[in-house]
Each structure stands twice: as C-alpha cells, then as structure tokens.
C-alpha cells in the first residue's frame, strides 16, 4: 500500500493540475463560443442583421447620445404614426442598457469603439458568458467533468448560434445567459442553503426580467420544481430559503421594470409562484409543528386543521375561480395562451399566427438545431435519476417543459438548447467515466504477468479515480448496482449508431461475472478493455460529427444578415444590397417629416436606416393600425389612396422578389394582409382573392386580386424587364401586364427591382369654371355631390 501522506500530496497535486486544466479549458470554450459566431462578419461585413435588431440598435443609439433619463422617458413619434410609441414603457431595457454600459465603459477607457461595433459583438461575448454559466450549473448537478462537457456543447449548439451570431442584436443574446445564470444560482442556493446566493438569485432574476419576455418561464418553472420537491417528499429548509425570498424580492424587482409593472402581481402568468409560495408556507408550518409535537398530538392537530382548512380553502378557491373566470382570457396574455393552446393564435389573433417564428417546428429542425444532442438527452435523463437529487430533478423538469414548448413554437427551440446541452453533457461525462474507469482498472492487468486476486483488488482500489476516494464502500455498491442497468440502457441507445454490439454485450456480461468474484467489499462496473477503448473512440467520433455540423450550420445556415443577400452563379458571386440602397435613397431624397407606409416587417429598418416616420412596424402592438395598412394594400387604387392620404402618407414601399427569385416578398405575404385587414374591416373578404382556394397572380387570378394595390405596385412596368412578365418566385407570367397607375407614381426601384418606392399623387385641382354657377341651387347641389363629398374610406 502506498504511503498515505504521499498519496495525499500526489492527490492534491493532481487536483491542482486538474483545476488549472479546467480553467484553461473554460477559456478555450469561451474563445470557441465567441469565434464560431463571427462567420457573418467575415463573409459579409460587421452589420446588424434582420429586423428586430435594428430597433434595438436605434434605441441604443438614442441611449448613448441622450443619456439614461431621456431614454427612460422617451416617447417615439417617428413610428406608428399618428399614434407614436412609448419606448420607455414598452421595451425590455436589459439588452440596450447592457450594450450602452459596455460602450460607455470602453469609451471612458479611451477605446473608441462605435455603438454599432459594440452592438454587433454583444451577442458573441454573452454567448461565451452563457457557456461558462452552463459549466457552473452542470457542475452543481453532476460535477466538473459534466460541466465542462455541457459548456463545450453549448458553445457550439446551432440553435443558440442562430439567435446570437455577431450582428444578431436581439434580446435573446443576453437573455439566455441570464436564464442559465439564474438557474445556476437557484440550484446553488438549493444545494447550500445560503441566503447570500438567494439574494444573488433574485438580482439575476431581475436582470432576466429586464432582458426578455421569456422570464415567465423561470417564474413558472421554479414553482413547479418546488411543488415537485414537496410532493416527492424532498422538502427541506434549504428549499424554503431557495424559494421564498426569490418570490418576494423577485416580484418586487419585476414590478420595477416598466414593461412589466403591475403585471407582476395581476396576470395569471405569475399566479403559480404565489400559489406555491402559500403551499410552501403551509408545508413548512406543518413540518415545524410535527417537529415540536408528539406524534399523538400531531394526529389530533391534523384532524382539527384538515376539517377547518378544507372549508376555508374551498371558499377561497370559489372566489378565485369566479374572479378569474369573469375575464375572457382568464387573465392570461395572448402570447402565453398561444403557448398553452397551440391553436389559440390561429383562431383569434392572426398577427401572432403570422409571425414565422411562432409556427411549430418540423422534425428535421430538431436535428438541424440540436443535432447529436437529440438522442443523448434520454441518456442524460436516465443518468440524472442515478442518484436523484434536488438539482437533477430540476434539470429533468427543465428539459421536459422546454421540449414541450419547443414543440409549440420554433422560436422556443432556443430555450431547449441549454437543457439539451446540460443533459447531453451529463450523459457523455458519465459514459466517459465508466469507460475510462474500465480501461484504467484493466490496463495494469494487461502489463502484469499473473495477478493474484487480492493484489488485483488492492491495485484496483489504488488506481481508482479521485472522485471515488471519498465514498464509503456501501455507497459505492449502491451506485454501481444502480449504474449497471443504466449502462445497459445507454448501451442499447448506442446500438443504433454502432455496429456489432451483440458481441460486446456478451463480453460485458462475462466481465461482470469475472469482476464480481475478486471484489468482496467494492463492486466496480468494469467493461472489457477493448469494448471500452472502441466505445471511447466512437464517442469522440460522435463529438467530431457534432462539431462539423455546428460549424457548417453556423457558417452556411445561420450567418445570413438578411439585409444583404448573395447568390452564387456560374459567373461568380452576386450581392443584392437592394434594401440598404432603398433606405439610403429615402434618406437622401425625401423630407425629414415624410411618412412612409409599408408592411410592418420593414418598419424597424426604415426608422433605423432611412430615418423616416413609418405607419406600422415590427412591434405589432396595434392590430387595427396594421389592419388599416393591410386593407389599403388589398384595395383598389382609389380607396387605397384615400386611406393612405388620411394617414398623411407620402411614400409607399413595396418589396418585390419576382425578378430575382427572392421569395420573402410582399406578394407572398399578401395573404396575411388580406386576413389581418379582413379581420377588422369586413369589406375585405378573403374568398374574393382566391381562385380554387389559392392566391394566384397569373391570368387565372380573380379581378379583385388583379386590381388591388399590392399587385399593381409590385408589377408596374414589370413586363418591360423580359417582355413577358415572368415572375420567378411564383413561376408564372403575370395576369395583367400593361396597366397605368392613376393615383401613385413610381419614384424609385432598386437595382434588382427588390424594393419599389411610390409616391402618392396629389389630388387633382378643382376646375375653376364651375364655381361661377354658385347661385343656381340645383347645379350647386350637383357640384357639391360630385366634388366635395369625400367618400368614407373605411367602407
């Protein structure tokens, strides 16, 4: 046997080396997370992507220029004309305040980065932070090895990359970090029972509320977990310390954020936390009484309390149900309701149904977004049950709920990603542990000539990995006994990937019998040497596949800025920069106070880049206003002109992809204009635009379709491009080819005809001659009826 002090010295040296290695690995993981998101900066340029980030960028610009008080009280009159928008009260300030403070700090350190650069690179920095937070969280659940694996997986998972590339300056970039960090602090409080971590937990929850509307996931998941712990008999005082201060402090902090305000106590999304708060107090009280009373007295107390309690509870419940049932949506907001009942949005709120991110995902999108993790997750779930602790039950609940929600909305695949990474990290780490232990245990046997049974046992105990040293023999027996069925289960999972497993299974059973004989006190799960080596190799190859897929997804699929498009053809790379061309034209050729009308997708970009007032934008808070624009786009020219004129609109912007084959253009979005407009103004009827249940723009289209404003503005002079008017997106020639515009005039079309800008023609002058006949009442009345009566554009 080795000298115990020498072993201790060796052990501490190994621990120190392990610690340094761990820090180094974490640094590398952070660098990896940062650099894998830089593809779009390399391939295109350092530019803000998509639509929503432009709004955040504009708000950050305002913040850095005018300071925080003006930002808090900002009323924006350049959007939603003529209504305006209270920015201070309707935006989640976390992201803009974070980027603003980073910019301010760097500028005070004399590092003069522009606001745009800071905005573009905020997301990669916070994804590195999120990877480190995942390491901390998984370390609390299972240990350092699982933590490092989970962090490495999260750094690269495509689902998270898609919303946090350099340039995607959106709420989720910061919110996912806040989510994971809040969960870590909750688990840490649960494990240690320290009030200090409970305070930090509440502050981190506050940061999450500031950042994203998805904070309701936290404030519903944690109560669910507390309830689960109570129901499964895992109540402890640490649970009380972890949960009760969080509810009180968390509700207060959430009410501080203007967007949430009193919703923190009045909407149904928060009621779960209050209910569990009360239940927790009741349970805590019961445990306390149980502690100080004798069992007989406790029974008496119970019967007394139960009879009174049931009466009181049913009364309170009845009142509550009456209150909640009186409101039509039972107190839930539209978005939350559409999560619980996936068909709700399509029936009642077409705006929510029309956003492409709110559609349910298809099966391939799971493999695209979390790849290998999709089938490592079940192994991780099994590993979490052995042994089941508070922390691992939390992670199991997290993955179960996030899988459900990701099935409702594609956008919520993002919430699934950290859970999947944690589970897969646990699974991979446990697998590696088992294999390396087997190899380590059997390697000396390979070099020894003829090992005796006792010597074998001794060496086996010496060569054990450090984490096993502290366990008592009985614990290890239980652990290994429980591990065996999971090993079998996990082995069965990998059967689908690897071939020739039958031999290995038989070999494993033999090894079990062999290993059982020499070990009397400690039972170790030992797999045959060759099987373990091959299995480790195969796991590494699996990891390699995952890395290759993630890099490909980041480079090809998720790095498109969507404001600049490219296409490869036989004569090289074509770049379509039409959007910025159109916004620049607007900025330079129109008055500052001109109003621009377009479909709501382009609102944020128009205000940010062209700096012109828009009618509707991506915030979509006012359905009637959007329906007005939709009605105008679906009506013939004169009524559309009337509607736009009543809104003081000067320019109309239309996106058209027929010349180059850009399929996200306004004609493809037209069905939503009709539906949303028809939802508010009944004279727009969807069947008027459909031929055989389809929207068509060719010769078989309905006359309503061929006369509507969207058709005319998209296809005006289109026939001049190729003589036949062949629409590349719809794949047909257009129906009406030669027509003139009576109320609009074309002022600008971009290079590839992707954005077309029209100006409203001023109304015709009244003819002076007829005013002389004012004295004649008959003709005056006729003149009045002809010229001065404006038709109501809403009918």
């Amino acid at each position: 046997m080795a000298d115990p002090s020498e072993a201790k010295g060796e052990g501490s040296l190994r621990k120190a080396f392990g610690g340094v290695l761990g820090v180094f690995i974490l640094l590398l993981i952070g660098t990896l997370a940062f650099s894998i998101r830089l593809f779009s900066v390399i391939k295109y340029e350092s530019v803000i992507h998509e639509f929503d980030p432009y709004f955040n960028y504009r708000v950050t610009q305002f913040l850095t220029k005018n300071g925080i008080y003006d930002f808090w009280n900002w009323f924006d009159d350049r959007t939603w004309y003529p209504l305006g928008r209270v920015i201070g009260g309707t935006v989640y300030p976390g992201l803009t305040l974070t980027a603003g403070s980073i910019w301010w700090l760097l500028n005070n350190l004399n590092i003069p980065l522009s606001v745009e650069t800071v905005c573009v690179f905020t997301a990669p920095i916070f994804s590195a932070n999120a990877a480190w937070a995942t390491y901390l969280l998984t370390k609390e659940v299972k240990g350092t090895g699982a933590g490092l694996t989970a962090a490495a997986l999260l750094a690269m998972v495509p689902s998270y990359i898609s919303r946090s590339v350099a340039g995607s300056y959106d709420n989720e970039a910061v919110a996912i970090f806040a989510l994971i960090f809040t969960f870590y602090l909750y688990i840490k409080t649960l494990n240690t029972g320290s009030l200090f971590y409970a305070t930090l937990n509440a502050l981190s929850y506050f940061y999450m509320v500031c950042s994203w509307g998805g904070y309701t996931f936290i404030i519903n998941l944690i109560p669910m977990h507390v309830l689960l712990c109570i129901v499964t008999g895992r109540y402890s005082s640490r649970l009380y310390i972890a949960y009760a201060p969080l509810v009180v402090l968390g509700t207060l902090l959430a009410s501080l954020v203007p967007v949430v305000g009193f919703n923190a106590v009045m909407t149904s999304e928060h009621f779960a936390s209050f209910l569990v708060f009360i239940i927790l107090h009741v349970v805590a009280f019961v445990y306390y009484i149980k502690g100080i009373l004798s069992p007989k007295m406790f029974k008496v107390a119970m019967t007394l309390v139960v009879t009174i309690g049931i009466a009181v509870c049913s009364a309170v419940l009845a009142i509550l149900i009456a209150l909640v049932a009186s409101s039509p949506t039972k107190g839930w907001s539209g978005r939350s309701l559409s999560l619980l009942d996936p068909t709700y949005a399509s029936k009642y709120i077409p705006i929510i149904a029309s956003v492409s991110e709110h559609q349910p995902p298809t099966w391939p999108s799971y493999f695209m977004d979390i790849n290998v993790l999709a089938f490592l997750v079940p192994a991780g779930i099994v590993a979490c049950f052995l042994p089941l602790s508070d922390a691992s039950s939390f992670v199991i609940l997290y993955i179960a709920t996030s899988v459900y929600f990701s099935g409702v909305m594609v956008r919520l695949m993002l919430v699934l990603a950290p859970a999947a990474c944690i589970m897969s990290g646990i699974a991979l780490s446990e697998a590696f542990d088992a294999f390396t232990r087997s190899i380590k245990f059997q390697l000396p046997k390979l070099f020894e000539a003829s090992p005796s049974d006792a010597g074998d046992t001794n060496r086996g105990t010496q060569d054990e990995p450090t984490k096993v040293d502290n366990n008592t023999p009985t614990e290890k027996t239980e652990a290994t006994v429980k591990e065996r069925p999971s090993e079998k289960h996990r082995k069965k999972e990998k059967k689908k990937l690897e071939k020739g497993k039958e031999i290995k299974e038989k070999g494993k059973e033999n090894a079990d019998k062999v290993s059982n004989k020499p070990l009397n006190a400690k039972k170790l799960l030992v797999l045959p040497l060759e099987a373990s080596a091959v299995a480790i190799l195969l796991l590494i190859i699996l990891g390699a596949f995952y890395v290759v897929h993630c890099v490909w997804a980041a480079a090809e699929a998720y790095s498109a800025p969507s404001i600049v498009l490219t296409s490869h053809s036989h004569d090289g790379l074509h770049v379509f920069d039409d959007f910025r061309e159109a916004y620049a034209w607007l900025k330079h050729n129109t008055d500052v106070d001109d109003k621009v009308a377009s479909w709501w997708d382009y609102g944020y970009q128009t205000t940010a880049m062209a700096n012109r007032t828009v009618i509707v934008d991506n915030n979509t808070w006012n359905n009637t206003h959007i329906a007005t624009v939709g009605t105008a786009m679906s009506s013939p020219e004169k009524p559309a002109w009337d509607i736009f004129n009543s809104l003081d609109v000067k320019y109309v912007l239309v996106v058209f992809g027929g010349l180059v084959g850009y399929s996200s253009d306004d004609i493809n979005k037209f069905l939503w204009m009709v539906r949303i407009g028809g939802g508010v103004f009944p004279h727009i009827r969807e069947p008027d635009y459909l031929r055989d249940g389809q929207y068509r723009i060719d010769a078989h289209a309905t006359p309503t379709m061929l006369n509507c404003l969207m058709y005319k503005l998209s296809y005006y002079r289109f026939v001049e491009t190729d003589g036949k008017g062949f629409d590349r997106v719809r794949g047909t020639e257009i129906g009406k080819k030669h027509f003139r515009l009576t109320h609009f005039e074309e002022v600008f079309t971009t290079h590839h005809w992707m954005v077309r800008i029209y100006k409203l023609k001023s109304p015709k002058n009244r003819i002076r001659g007829k005013s002389k006949k004012k004295t004649n009442p008959k003709t005056t009345s006729k003149i009045n009826s002809n010229k001065n009566v404006k038709k109501n554009p809403w009918q």
């Binding site: 029972g193 009030l195 005082s237 201060p245 009180v248 501080l256 502690g291 008496v300």
Partner: protein, 115 residues
C-alpha cells in the same frame, strides 16, 4: 363527540404551548419579529380596504416589504436554529450577515418602488 374534540383541542393547545416554551429565547425574539411584520401587513391591507388601492405601487411595496422581512426573518431562524442538522457548520454571524445583506437589497428596492 363535540366534547371529545374540544378536550382534544385543549390538550393540543396545552402541548403546543409547552413545546413552544422550550425553544431558546433567541428564536422566540425572531418569532416575535415575524408576528410583528405580519401584523403590520394585515393593518395595511385593512387600510387599503378602507381607503382604496391608489397609488397601487405604494400599497404593493408596503405589503411586500412586510412579507419580505417576515420571510427573511424565518430564513434567519432556520439557519440559526441549533436543532437544524443541515446548518451546523454555518456560523450564526454569517447567517446574520446574509440576513442584513438581503434586507438591504429588499429595502433598496422598496424605497425605489414606493414612489
């Protein structure tokens, strides 16, 4: 039946009282503080019932400050209680320091929200 239940109730109350009298004085002080905080909260609710709930943020911050200090005091009691096996290596000074810190954060938020 009623007599047995009332005598049961009396026996229950007696045993509760005797068991509670055995708790150390430190914990009884904390319990008193919790009762005081809850009473203040009840008084505020009654006041709101009389006067109406405008301004709502003041009412909310008042109620939640009472409930918050009560909850934190209960957490302190859990951590300081010698019978609690889980916290035997947590010094009462550290527990009190955590309690003070959490109260500081709570009251900072309250002052901000009070309006």
């Amino acid at each position: 039946m009623a007599k047995s239940s009332s005598s049961d109730a009396q026996a229950l109350i007696r045993s509760l009282r005797s068991a509670y009298a055995a708790t150390p004085t430190k914990l009884k002080i904390i319990d008193l503080y919790v009762v005081y905080a809850i009473t203040t909260a009840v008084i505020q609710i009654v006041y709101m019932g009389i006067v109406g709930s405008f301004p709502f943020n003041s009412f909310l911050s008042g109620i939640l400050s009472c409930v918050g200090t009560a909850v934190l005091a209960v957490c302190l009691r859990i951590q300081v209680n010698k019978e609690n096996k889980e916290f035997k290596d947590l010094s009462p000074e550290r527990a009190f320091a955590d309690f003070v810190l959490c109260n500081l954060v709570l009251h900072l938020v309250i002052m901000n929200f009070l309006g």
